[in-house]
């Protein structure tokens, strides 16, 4: 009964016909306590984030760190180059003048923030992935066209084979099928 099926099985895929059915079902999966599951829709669904109980992203904190790193790097670099390693007097200005250093500092702060945003987004989403077990499902192809899906992974601690299948079927899914890893 409570045997966990792990070998060979990726998880279960449930298909829904209507977006509101998906949102209702997602809220129930969330309340059941599953953690390794996802929703797949052909277009962004307003309210799905809340129904899935997705918490806020950590990306802003990464970006803040990236920005501060750019700021520090730029100031140290300019001080080291022009005032320390090779002191060079330009039109009577101080060797390290803050106003002259601001443009480069600003640009490097923005640059490292932007790069952290871009690569941080890929990293947090575990991208790039060249293949995904769900691509093996014939049914799943309609996720980019006119069907809505919930997948629960077998490695979820609450995953219980047949029971999970029945749970998904009870959410009003049109079809539930196992997906091989």
């Amino acid at each position: 009964m409570a045997t966990r099926e792990t070998h060979g099985l990726y998880g279960y895929l449930a298909e829904f016909r209507e977006p509101w059915d998906l949102i209702d079902a997602a809220a129930k999966v969330r309340d059941a306590g599953y953690t390794r599951w996802d929703c797949h829709t052909p277009f962004p669904l307003h309210g799905l984030d809340r129904a899935m109980g997705i918490r806020g992203t950590r990306l802003p904190w990464l970006v803040l760190c990236g920005g501060l790193a750019g700021l520090t790097l730029a100031l140290v670099m300019q001080w080291w180059m022009n005032a320390h390693d090779y002191p060079f007097l330009i039109s009577g200005k101080p060797l390290f003048g803050l106003p002259a250093a601001v443009p480069v500092t600003f640009e490097l702060t923005v640059l490292l923030s932007a790069l952290t945003t871009f690569f941080g987004m890929w990293g947090l989403n575990l991208l790039p992935q060249h293949h995904h077990p769900l691509f093996g499902s014939e049914r799943f192809r309609r996720a980019t066209s006119d069907r809505f899906f919930i997948s629960i992974e077998a490695r979820d601690p609450l995953f219980q084979g047949e029971r999970t299948r029945e749970f998904l079927a009870g959410l009003g899914a049109d079809a539930v099928e196992p997906v091989e890893d």
């Binding site: 307003h46 039109s91 009577g92 002259a100």
Partner: protein, 356 residues
């Protein structure tokens, strides 16, 4: 008397900034076909309706130009080659004519957009929105030119020797930041008195917060760009203006602006946490308005008193007095009419607006 006139100019320009911010906001929302703002656009239309009062309050300045502007004092123009050279543009007659022209354009634009919006309340005709969208572009071009030239005339010509082509944008940055602060306070105040409770949501406050955050930084960006070019070039007729603001205690005001007009609100408004809490937003809105006043103080008062900071009770008295007039004008313009453009075609989407 000279202090009174400078204090009048300062407080008048402070409230004029708020009205001009609204005059910028309304055509922009039409031009960009903005959805989020449809529910609060009427409030901006009301704020821009205060411009006739601001035109009236310009009289003490226009009638005493010689006590405020160096170029309007014949004794100081005589023998000064630069001022004599600029007299073709900077003379009392032409100056007054220009100010009258700016106000004519502003009042006309504010009236056109507000009238159209009110007419839609009655008829519900979506063609009115389409027409306002077409008017938005030309209106913003007119606004940009008149606002920039007004900044040159009213503020920059206080020191008629000095010039900075960026100066109009500098005032504009302060205008927009403080305009969104006013919108925040106006919305929060109306909601406290039980109005717009279901119309305006945290999503709209979030957007006010974003705009304040963005324009606080834009202000600093422009302020620094203006400073750095002059610092680097180091030409006497340009540096004199900054030198006056770095001596005799004035540098304290400059540092106050760097930390309190930029760094603190920049850090304070950065997080989404702040932008979705009305009390915190109201706090930063008041903060930004105070700093906009300090900014204008720093632009105007060193020309009156380069020897030290001349704070007097009448500065505050004028602020309170004009604030009272301004609030009365707002209430009068708003009248018994709707606070929301009820039949705007984008209203429904705006009510349900969410940030993702």
């Amino acid at each position: 008397m000279r202090h009174f006139l400078h204090a009048w100019l300062l407080n008048w320009l402070f409230f004029l900034s708020l009205s001009l911010g609204a005059l910028w906001f309304v055509p922009l929302q039409h031009l960009t076909r903005s959805t989020w703002s449809a529910v609060v656009r009427r409030l901006a239309e009301i704020v821009s309706g205060t411009l006739p009062l601001m035109a009236l309050l310009s009289l003490p300045v226009l009638l005493n130009l010689g006590d405020i502007y160096v170029w309007a004092d014949p004794a100081r123009v005589a023998g000064d080659p630069l001022l004599e050279h600029k007299a073709g543009w900077l003379n009392p007659g032409f100056f007054t004519l220009r100010i009258a022209f700016y106000f004519a354009v502003w009042i006309l634009l504010a009236t056109i957009f507000r009238r159209r919006s009110l007419r839609q309340d009655a008829t519900g005709d979506p063609a009115i929105t389409a027409g306002s969208e077409r008017l938005g572009g030309p209106a913003l071009i007119l606004y940009g030119l008149t606002q920039t030239f007004a900044a040159f005339d009213l503020l920059m010509s206080l020191d008629a020797h000095w010039f900075s082509t960026m100066f109009g944008v500098y005032w504009f940055a302060g205008i927009v930041a403080s305009f969104f602060a006013v919108m925040t306070l106006l919305t929060a105040g109306l909601q406290r008195s039980g109005r717009l409770l279901h119309a305006v949501t945290l999503e709209h406050y979030n957007d006010y917060g974003r705009a304040m955050f963005a324009f606080i930084f834009f202000w600093a960006y422009i302020a620094f760009s203006q400073y750095m070019l002059i610092w680097y070039a180091n030409i006497p007729e340009e540096t004199g203006w900054y030198l006056r603001r770095q001596q005799n205690g004035w540098s304290a005001v400059g540092y106050l602006l760097i930390f309190c007009h930029w760094l603190l609100p920049f850090a304070g408004l950065m997080s989404r946490f702040t932008k979705r809490r009305v009390r915190l937003m109201a706090f930063w809105a008041v903060w930004i308005l105070v700093m906009h006043w300090v900014d204008l103080f720093w632009l105007i008062m060193p020309e009156l008193s380069p020897g030290g900071i001349p704070l007097q009770l009448m500065d505050a008295a004028l602020l309170v007095g004009m604030g009272g007039l301004y609030a009365a004008m707002l209430a009068w313009v708003a009248g018994p009419r709707l606070l929301v453009a009820r039949r705007d075609p984008r209203l429904r989407a705006s009510l349900n607006f969410e940030n993702y």
